[in-house]
Structures are given as structure tokens and as C-alpha cells.
Subunit: 508 residues, 2 copies
């Protein structure tokens, strides 16, 4: 076979990224020193990262990437980084996550900002503070990766209508990562970093103002690191339920921000409020959040939910019903995955709304996953157009997004992506059920369906055995590895991984 | 508003169809006489049909249909026929189905060949034999309507890629219903009639051969009338579970035939075996049936199912596991909806497979509903093409079906239809949950989801409270009316009804 792909170039760049993991591990290492926990875990992991990274870099001294090498690099980066990032869990050997498959699951869940966990019990008595911080940090690093992916890589690869993800005009191709794109990426990283710091400061301020007794500095850092990447890992066993109402209200706007196109914040910083206000996608995103929060709030307020001892009754309590409704809708639409209470105990109607929310996803150019709201917007607009052309078959009417007329190829790409996503969902859930039947694991309807939707969409928690207060631990290893695959392809917008499986990709 | 649609012409043709309902009622009337049951029900209903039909016909003495009038006629025909066809239930006033909303539900379920029932208890002690036969006959008549719709009307209206449904080259437009199309429709009706008679004869032969003690002549006619339209109404309370294994095995090939493009039988009759064997859609259809039957059979054989007293244990019994697996997969894929046992009691993995099957649908040019298998085939082929063009963005590669290269507009129409179908499914299930919450009806996950999938897809039974041995009776009236709407739009391939709701349709 005549392989035309310069895989050495791709691997070499992956090596560079992996080497930087060692630098990132300085933070948990410092924490380990500070808390007097063992330092071997992170020193050994750093050595591993440098060793693997250096070896991969050796494959090509002057890597030059075309589009095909771009697909391979993107896919391999998340895969190799997740393998190397799993080493601290394995080396530390604390709890269920010390088992290699579990460690890989937790690591991929981190770097893809999914937030699905296989930790049997969460708490510092079982896992060191440094290891838990590494878990949070993988999400923050993954979020940085998504920013580059969304603004610089996927639009150039024209994946599933990802052209739309680029707020600016498309560049000349990934092989020439232009100064403009690099500059954009740096600007967006700046925004990402600044909002993270802002959230950390505000969370800790609540603590200092006696409004959040257990929002310690450690917790403030941990949650700031997992909000902006729409990650959702929390060092608290009961997620955000463990914190005060003030904390819950404060986290909501940060989750909304994390699911917003970061380019809009850039315009905002430049004093351009109109672009923000008039952005078609943002308006749709805000409407979806408002409408579904309202519907869920009504369901909770009118008592479609059993009384939950942990948080007290919701029915008849307007503030509580509204808070938990808004929190959960925002958390799942943005694909963050935090829980302000055990929403898997809600009544079926409210659960079903949240289940549908697992498919919505954040904005283009955000760290949110799933289908992404801009694609749904284009799908709905195209369906409306289809109704029109059914009556007027002769009419040629482009689909418009704001003042842009979309190219038919982009529309087709978005139709294809959305259907591919749903087809994968239906088939993947079937495979998880088969695996459960094979191993004697008893699942009910939403168990596997929500587990697949929540991993493919990088959301994290689902319903039933994968509810927000449960974990993915009980799935057989085969299912866990399969979900590692789902998190991986879901995060990379599916196509960059799937094309690697086609002969056309490898041949000339 | 300047209405450009000649609605009088549409209504006039609907009137002609409705008048024929009176002729169709001669059959149940004759049965009523034969069994000594009351004849008032059908005499009054016949008078109603003639009266309404005649009044509608008066609106336009020389109706001339364009495409827009075609949409209106198609949509109104099923609606008005269902209203008039509900009159025997209301006038007879026997059981739950005597209530007007229930009667409309049962009638729409019949004419759309859905087979969802609101009869609280099924049996001749509650409903007369004549009324039950009318129920079966509505499906057979509905199936005749679908044949015309599929071969003559939808392809001309270019609805959601329905061009593909036409086995021949597209005609010059519905306004000139050509002799060729009329001839095709007549030929397909002939096939439909002939296979119905064949099934009836074979079912009754089993009875005469002592292989089916309770397959009386009445039952043979009843089941022949509901198999070919993929209807699924049975006069037996426990559907096909009530009959012997021989009956169950015999019905399977007839359900397969009902879900096959009838044009293929036409080729077969003309001695053209190759067209049948080489038909891309038929091969895909046969593969889907084989693969999923096999998977379900394995699940049942290896014991993923509780022991059901009614039919005895399936695990370890190869014939039983295979029979029920094949029967249910064929029944749901073809959207017939018969049950050989209570599949809503199976283990979750097997139930989930059947749940996904609710979306597949029969072949183009068959009486099957749901998305239809040819659309899934085109979707899968287009997704494969999308993978190819992701790697080769410069390539122009048409999607092929057999030796035809599909027009991009047809591909786009199919993408749009499939997504529209899924979007309607997700939203409709949410509305059913809200309605349940409003009225205090307790639903679990698959209840509303499968109820919506089974009515929109014209399948009939689902899971949980709408399982095959249950009914749709417990839903609030608002939900029932909503499901009447779902059956209606699902049967007409959605777009002909939805376009009526757009201003563009009514204006010039
Ligand atoms: K997440
Ligand atoms: K049916």
C-alpha cells in the first residue's frame, strides 16, 4: 500500500504537545509538596511525558502538515495525551481509578472535558489533593485544546460544517498556521484564562463573605478549572449540591459563558456590544436556555418530582425550583455536567427534557460539546427552507445565518454531521446494551442511552446508573473502553477520527 | 389575503373518496346481517358518508388539481375519511371506543394503518363482529390509499426525496394523472388484493389442516386484511400470541411482503427475477431484517428475558427464540405491529433493539411507515460519501442507488426528511410527557418515547403502558388528539401536512 500520509510529521507534533504535559504537572507536583503527599507519582509521570514526547518528536525534525496530517495529529493528540495523562492515576494507585482501564477512562474524560467518572467514591481520604487537582487540571488543559481546535483546526479541515465555527473568514489552510490564526488562538486563551481567574476570585470571595462555608481556596481553584472547559469534574462527591445556593447561582453565568462563542467576548472587550447582542447563534442559545429552564422550573415547582431529602422539597418553592431548573438546563446544554442536586431522581418529564438537552451542545467556538447549537440552528432553518421549496420547487433560497448566506456544501455538511451523530448514538447505545447483556449487568432504558449521549456529547453524567451522584464504574471494561472511544470521537467532532478508518484517507 | 389555492377542487375530490366509504361499509353491514347484529350503525354511517361526500363534491363540479391542491387533497382525505370512518364506533357505542375522541383515534389509527388501539378490552362479548371487521377493514382501505400515495402522488410532489419511491421515471405532474400512473396504481392494487386473498386462503388452510384451531374464517379474513397494509389490528386480545406457531411462521413472510416495494412483485409477475434479486433497497431491507432478527434471537436464547408464563421460557429453546425474534423484528421494521408475545416484557437490551426498529420503516412503494428503509440507505451512503469528501474536498462524487446517480436535491430532501422526523419525535415525546405531568399520569422513559415513535411511524404498539397487550386508553384526551395528529402526519410523510401550516403555501 502506498501510504501518502506523512504520519511521522503528525506524530512529531503530538510529541511536542505531550512534552508540555510534563510542564503542566508542575502544578499538582507543587500541591503534593505543599500538602506533604507523595511526589513520586508526578515525578514519574513527568519523566514518562518527556520520554514519550521526545521519542515522538524524533520521528520528524521539521514537521510540515497538510490537511490529512492535520486529521491524524488531532486524533492522535487527544489519544496519546489521554494515555500519558492516565499515568498519575495508575502510579498513585488510589481507589478504583488506579486500575489501568479506569485510569484511561478518567483521563480521556478529563482531556475531552467530559467529566464522566469511574471513581467509586470521591473524597480526599481516598485520593490525594494533588491527584484530584490533576483530574481537574486535565479538563482545563483539554479546554485549551478545544479552543485551538475550534478556531484554528476544524474550520480549516471543513469538518461537518465547522467552517461556521470560525468567526472570521477562513484562512489559507492549516499547513500555514497564519499569524492571524495564532493570534486569535492566543487572544481566546487570554479570555479563557481571565474568566477562569475571575470565577476563582468570585467563588473564594463568597467564602470570605461567609456565603459559602466550604468553598475553600482549593475548591475555588478546582471549580474554576472545570467550569470554563465545560468539564464538570468536582472534588466534591455530590458535585455542586455540596455548596450553598450563592455558589450555585454564581456558577450559572460562568457555565453560560463557557458555552458561548469566545470570539464574542473578544468583540465585547473591543467595545463592540452590537456584535454580541445581534449574534444569531447567541440569541438562539439564550432562548433555548431560557425556554427549557422555564419549562423544567414549572415541572419542578408544580411537583412533578419526588421529595428529595438532600435538598428538601422543590414543589411550591419558587427560588429552589428555578435555581435547580436553570442550573441543570444550563449545565447540560453547555455540556458542563455539574449537578446542583440529583436530577436523576426527578420525575420522568423533567428527566426527559434534560435527556434531550444532552444533544444540544454549546456554541461554536466554545468548549461545549455535543451537536453544538449552531448546527441545530442551521438544521431548523434548512428544514424551514425545505418546507418553502416543497411549495415552490423552482425557488432558490439560501439558508441565512445573520447576514451570511450559507454555502450549500456547509448546509449539507451540517445535515450529515447531525445525522451521523444521531446514528452513532442509536447504534452505540445498542452496543452498550449488548455488552451489558453479555456480562449480566442489568440496565433500564435511560441507563445506556444517557451514558452514550453523555459520553459522545462530552457532558458527563446521565440518568439511572450513570446519574450525577453515581459513576460509570459498574460498566464492564469493554463498555468503558468503548466509551473512551465515544468521548474521543465526540470531542473531535467525529469526522477527524472516522476518516482515519477509511482506505481513501491512507491512499493517494 | 390572496388565497391562490383552489381548496374547492381539493375538497371536491375528498368528497368523492368519502362517498366510496359508503360502498366499503357494505361489507360490515352484510356481516351484521349475517351475525344478526344491529344494522343501524352501518346504515347511519353510510348515510353520513354519502351526505358529507356529496356536499364536498358540490364545491367544485370539475376539479382540476395542481401541486398545491394535491397537498391539500392528500392531507384532507385522511382527515375527513378518519372522521367519517369513526362514526360506526360512536353510533355503536360499544366499550371505550364509543367515546368520540377514542373513536377518532381508533379510526385514524385504522386508516393510517397504525394499529394503535384505545379499546379497553378486545373481544366479541363487548364489540360486535361487524364493528371489529370495520376496524380491520379501515386498515385494508388505508393500505390501498398508501399505494396510490406512494406510487402516484408523493413522487409527483417531490416530498422528502419521495422521487425515489417511484420505480419508474417521474411523470409530468399530478395535474395530469397519466394513464400510465393510473395503470400502475391498478396493477399494484391487483397485487395487494391477490396477496391478501392468498394469505386468507393459507391461514384458513392451516385451520382446516388442524394446525390452527382458532384460525376461523373470520380470523383468517381479519388478519389477511390487516397484514398487507402493515396495519396490525387483530380481533384477538393478545394479537398473534393467541394463535399457533404455524400461524406465526406463516404470517412472517406476508409481513415481509407487505414491507417490500410492490413494484418488485410486478416485475416478478412479468418473469423478471433479476430486478427483484438485484434491487439495492430490497437487499438492504433483507439484511436489516436478518441481522436484527439474529441479534434479538441470541438475546432471547441466552436468556436476557424473564420467563413469561403465557408462552413459556424462551432461553435455551431455539425454535421459540428464533420465531419470536424474527416475528417481532419483522413486525416492527415493516411497521405492522402484530405481537407474537408480550415483547414489552423482554429484557432491556432486546427491547432497545425493537425500539430502534420503530424508526426503520418499510420499503418505498410498500404500505410500511416510519422513515422508510430507502431513506436510511441513502443517508448511510451519503454519510460514507461525506467521509470521502472530507479527505478529498475537491472530489465530486454522486450518491448511487443501484445504477442510478441521485440528484443532490433528492439527497438533501432525504437528509431533511430524516432529521425532521427525528426532531418531531424528540419534541413530540416532550409534549406527551408535559401533558402526562399536567394530568398526573405517571410515565417512565420508554412510555412516551415509544408511544410517539409508534404513532408517528404508524407502527402501533410500543413499550410500557403502550405495550402490545396494553392500549393507548390511559393517555389524556389531549395526548390522544395529539397522537391522532402524529399518525396523520407520519402516514403522509409529514411535509404535505406541514406545508399547509406555512403562509407561503396559501399565498401566491
Ligand atoms: K462535561
Ligand atoms: K401498523
Amino acid at each position: 500500500m502506498n501510504v501518502r500520509v506523512d504520519w511521522r510529521a503528525s506524530c512529531s507534533l503530538v510529541g511536542t504537545v505531550v512534552k508540555w504535559l510534563a510542564v503542566a504537572m508542575v502544578f499538582p507536583l507543587a500541591l503534593a509538596v505543599f500538602y506533604g503527599e507523595g511526589v513520586v507519582t508526578f515525578l514519574a509521570s513527568m519523566a514518562l511525558a518527556v520520554g514519550i514526547g521526545w521519542s515522538l518528536e524524533r520521528l520528524d525534525d521539521d514537521p510540515d502538515l497538510g490537511a490529512r496530517e492535520g486529521f491524524l495529529m488531532v486524533a492522535l493528540t487527544w489519544l496519546v495525551v489521554s494515555f500519558v495523562g492516565a499515568s498519575p492515576y495508575v502510579i498513585a494507585g488510589q481507589g478504583t481509578v488506579g486500575q489501568p482501564v479506569n485510569a484511561l477512562f478518567e483521563s480521556m474524560s478529563g482531556f475531552t472535558t467530559t467529566g464522566a467518572t469511574v471513581m467509586g467514591s470521591i473524597g480526599f481520604e481516598r485520593h490525594s489533593r494533588a491527584l484530584m487537582m490533576w483530574r481537574q487540571q486535565t479538563q482545563w488543559l483539554g479546554g485549551m485544546g478545544i479552543v485551538v481546535l475550534a478556531v484554528a483546526i476544524l474550520p480549516e479541515l471543513s469538518v461537518g460544517g465547522a467552517q461556521l465555527m470560525d468567526a472570521e473568514a477562513p484562512g489559507p489552510g492549516i499547513q500555514k498556521l497564519t499569524p492571524r490564526i495564532a493570534e486569535t488562538a492566543r487572544a481566546l486563551w487570554g479570555i479563557y484564562f481571565a474568566i477562569t481567574v475571575l470565577e476563582m476570585v468570585l467563588l473564594y470571595s463568597l467564602h470570605l463573605a461567609d456565603l459559602a462555608p466550604n468553598m475553600t481556596l482549593y475548591n475555588a481553584v478546582a471549580h474554576a478549572l472545570t467550569t470554563m472547559p465545560t468539564g464538570g469534574f468536582s472534588p466534591a462527591a455530590r458535585s455542586i449540591e455540596a455548596f450553598s445556593a450563592a455558589v450555585q447561582w454564581l456558577i450559572i453565568p460562568f457555565m453560560v459563558a463557557a458555552g458561548t462563542n469566545f470570539a464574542l467576548f473578544w468583540h465585547l472587550l473591543n467595545g463592540d456590544f452590537d456584535t454580541f447582542r445581534e449574534d444569531t447563534e447567541f440569541r438562539f442559545y439564550a432562548s433555548v436556555l431560557a425556554v427549557f429552564s422555564g419549562l423544567v422550573a414549572i415541572l419542578l415547582f408544580t411537583g412533578g418530582t419526588p421529595e428529595l431529602t438532600a435538598v428538601g422539597p422543590l414543589s411550591g418553592n419558587a427560588e429552589k425550583a428555578l435555581r435547580h431548573a436553570v442550573f441543570q438546563v444550563v449545565s447540560l446544554v453547555t455540556t458542563t455536567g455539574y449537578a446542583s442536586m440529583d436530577f436523576a431522581q426527578w420525575g420522568t418529564p423533567a428527566q426527559y427534557v434534560l435527556f434531550v438537552m444532552l444533544f444540544v451542545g454549546g456554541s461554536a467556538g466554545s468548549t461545549g460539546g455535543a451537536v453544538k447549537i449552531v448546527r441545530w440552528l442551521v438544521v431548523l432553518k434548512s428544514l424551514k427552507r425545505e418546507l418553502f421549496t416543497t411549495v415552490h420547487p423552482e425557488a432558490v433560497r439560501p439558508v441565512r445565518l445573520g447576514d451570511r448566506a450559507l454555502d450549500e456544501r456547509a448546509v449539507r455538511g451540517i445535515y450529515a454531521f447531525t445525522l451521523l451523530y444521531l446514528v452513532i448514538f442509536f447504534v452505540a447505545a445498542m452496543l452498550v446494551y449488548f455488552d451489558a447483556a453479555r456480562t449480566g449487568l442489568d440496565l433500564v432504558a435511560l441507563d445506556a442511552m444517557s451514558a452514550v449521549a453523555a459520553t459522545l456529547g462530552n457532558v458527563g453524567p446521565g440518568f439511572g446508573i450513570v446519574g450525577p451522584m453515581e459513576s460509570y464504574l459498574r460498566f464492564p471494561r469493554t463498555s468503558k473502553l468503548f466509551m473512551v472511544f465515544l468521548m474521543w470521537i465526540g470531542r473531535l467532532e467525529i469526522l477527524p477520527v472516522l476518516v482515519l478508518l477509511t482506505p481513501a484517507y491512507w491512499q493517494s
